[in-house]
């Protein structure tokens, strides 16, 4: 995958972030928690902060929106020095997402999302429209979820609302502090896909702290590997870090070299997807079966009115019905275009299926990926490693 071409296609609504000698000292501690960090983050890029716990990555993140006041150094958003700016005003321009979303339990989903626009003085109608738009963006039906309270949502849904809330006033920068740490692996993978999709649409500058290196490889345009004192050990693309770890420390940390790691580097979009026969809910079954038989297909992907996958029945199953049924298969294996082969394999295993449906923009069907293709990719990388 060529990084630059993807970059060029993207819309960019983020701004660059530049750190100059940013330092945090706590009284009574000999060594600074963050020691004179210089870092430049390009507009519209997702940069992942990884490192052992206590290395100062979270402290550095919180200095970006001044939840922690730096003891020294300068922070620029674009060309603007924000080090001396009123923190509250600054934060309204920076989205902030934490674990479990940090939703206020006594406010409805809609109220939670509308807080920042409200503080910025938007009128009610505009806030309501924006709320619905954002719920739609993160894949939650506004009619259903707008007036619910956070406790009525699942962990993954709360996290989506957390992202929507952070995006409410369309901030150029998004800070995410281990946001997906508290959800189960399958939900986490869905949320990651979702974030990738949203980022593709919006092109924010995202700074994302994680302790999960696979997550960093999957989500990041660039990864910063930190050591104690927030020392930047390596700052590069995931591919480069895996291929050439700067120090033994990095190699140990990322577990580079392991063949299967390469699976996290390959996106579903980079493989050749199979185009399945699709059928809309309610279509005449016989016609669909005829189409599939003509194309020599065993399975048909059923989609709803908006092109989103609903189920994945076999031709034999379909031929027993008169019209294509709309029953939603909750165990349907789905991954996004920006998911990694690792995710795809995980999803297949979890669903005990030999393939996954791949979705693209707005969750519409982009193709299918079968387990043989993943195997082929593993074979290919093993060949490379040997050669």
């Amino acid at each position: 995958m060529s990084e630059t071409t993807v970059q060029d296609q993207r819309t960019v609504s983020g701004v660059a972030i530049r750190l100059e000698g940013v330092t945090k000292r706590y009284p009574g501690q000999q060594k600074p928690a963050v020691d004179a960090v210089d870092l430049e983050i390009a507009a519209g890029e997702t940069v992942m902060f990884v490192g052992p716990s206590g290395c100062g990555k979270t402290t550095l993140l919180k200095m970006l929106n001044r939840l922690i006041e730096p003891s020294g150094g300068k922070i620029f958003l674009g060309d603007e020095d924000v080090t001396g700016q009123d923190p509250d005003r600054l934060r309204r321009r920076i989205g902030y997402v934490i674990q479990a979303g940090g939703l206020f339990p006594h406010m409805t989903v809609g109220t939670n999302i509308g807080i920042v626009p409200g503080m910025l003085g938007w009128d009610k109608k505009k806030i309501a429209e924006r709320t619905d738009e954002l719920l739609d963006l993160v894949g939650l039906d506004p009619e259903v979820y707008r007036d619910r309270y956070p406790k009525e949502l699942s962990g993954g849904q709360q996290q989506r609302v957390g992202v929507a809330r952070a995006l409410a006033a369309d901030p150029p920068v998004l800070l995410m502090d281990e946001p997906f740490g508290a959800v189960d692996p399958i939900t986490r993978q869905r949320l990651q896909d979702e974030l990738l999709r949203i980022q593709e649409e919006l092109g924010k500058t995202i700074v994302f702290v994680t302790h999960d290196f696979d997550e960093a490889v999957k989500l990041g345009d660039k990864i910063v590997v930190f050591d104690v004192g927030a020392r930047v050990v390596q700052y590069d693309t995931p591919e480069a870090i895996l291929a050439e770890p700067a120090e033994d420390y990095v190699a140990d940390f990322v577990g580079a070299g392991a063949t299967l790691k390469q699976l996290t580097l390959t996106r579903v979009a980079d493989t050749e997807l199979h185009t399945p026969i699709t059928a809309q809910v309610g279509e005449d079954s016989a016609a669909v079966v005829a189409r599939a038989t003509e194309a020599g297909e065993q399975y048909v992907v059923v989609t709803d009115g908006r092109g989103r996958p609903v189920s994945w029945p076999s031709v034999a199953e379909l031929s027993r019905t008169t019209s294509v049924p709309g029953t939603r298969d909750d165990r349907l294996p789905v991954v996004g275009l920006r998911s990694t082969l690792n995710d795809a394999l995980d999803t297949m295993l979890a669903a005990s299926q030999g393939g996954v449906v791949v979705t693209g923009r707005r969750d519409s069907v982009a193709g299918v990926l079968v387990v043989e293709q993943v195997m082929a990719a593993i074979q290919a990388t093993r060949g490379e490693t040997r050669g």
Binding site: N65, I98, A100, H106, M119, Y149
Partner: protein, 266 residues
């Protein structure tokens, strides 16, 4: 660490019960909320029947005339209301202040002093204040305030401290000012605990205000002491019963308010 004279439901007890949060609320559900006022009304009805039919001496009948009784109750409630207002005005802002940044260090000290002070018997407090400020309503109010400010103060602090720190950070992180986070996040979330402290204080006040009679502060306690001193049982029991019913009624109103004012979504 709890109250001395009056055994009103104390947050100290609630705090112990917090070992299993919600245990109290489960045990005291809507059924309990309905039972309590019925109990009070039945007892009040029985009292009214007894009062209307009882054969009373002149010395008993005068203070037990309906207008006199009503006057005693109003006096009592006046003591409670004035003290409660002062308690709220002092307790809540002080509790908020003591949970703010620089003052947080003083929290254990203040709570320690307040807890030790609570071990002082209320009757001693009344008498000491009377020697200092003289007999009367004012001394009684001061003693009552000193005595019942702790539950409000403590529950305000406990309630605010109980708010998930990550929610405060989320609020600050999205650009809410410290005041906005306090008003829109921390206080609403602390409301259930704070209200429970207010109810505790009110019940404590109703009970403790009976002692005001010892320093000429008036109220229903006067019926009890007069009854004991002059050996007029009818007065004694009327006073005791009415105070108990009043405390139960105030407690019930407090519970209803707590149930209604509990923020949705919790």
């Amino acid at each position: 660490m709890t109250s001395a004279t009056d055994p009103a439901v104390d947050p100290a007890v609630d705090a112990q019960a917090d070992v299993e949060p919600g245990g109290r609320r489960d045990g005291f559900s809507w059924r309990g909320l309905l039972l309590q006022p019925v109990l009070v009304l039945v007892a009040l009805g029985a009292f009214a029947v007894w009062r209307a039919t009882a054969d009373l001496t002149d010395a008993e009948a005068r203070p037990l005339a309906w207008s006199a009784l009503l006057g005693s109750i109003v006096d009592h409630l006046e003591l409670v209301a004035v003290s409660a207002v002062v308690v709220l005005v002092i307790g809540i802002p002080l509790g908020v202040l003591l949970t703010r940044g620089p003052f947080r260090r003083a929290t254990p000290l203040v709570l320690g002093i307040a807890n030790t002070g609570q071990a002082a018997p209320a009757i001693g407090l009344f008498v000491l204040l009377a020697t200092w400020l003289g007999f009367g309503f004012r001394s009684a109010v001061v003693a009552l305030v000193l005595y019942s400010v702790l539950p409000v103060l403590r529950n305000t602090m406990v309630g605010l401290q109980g708010v998930d720190a990550r929610l405060v950070e989320a609020g600050r992180g999205m650009g809410m000012s410290a005041l906005a986070v306090l008003l829109r996040v921390e206080l609403p979330l602390a409301v259930p605990v704070m209200l429970s402290g207010v109810r505790t204080a009110l019940v404590l006040l109703v009970g403790t205000a009976t002692l005001a009679t010892f320093i000429d502060g008036g109220g229903l306690g006067l019926l009890i002491t007069t009854g004991i001193n002059l050996n007029l049982d009818a007065l004694l029991y009327s006073g005791a019963l009415l105070v108990a019913l009043l405390a139960l009624a105030v407690d019930w109103v407090g519970r209803v308010v707590e149930t209604v004012a509990r923020p949705k979504g919790l």
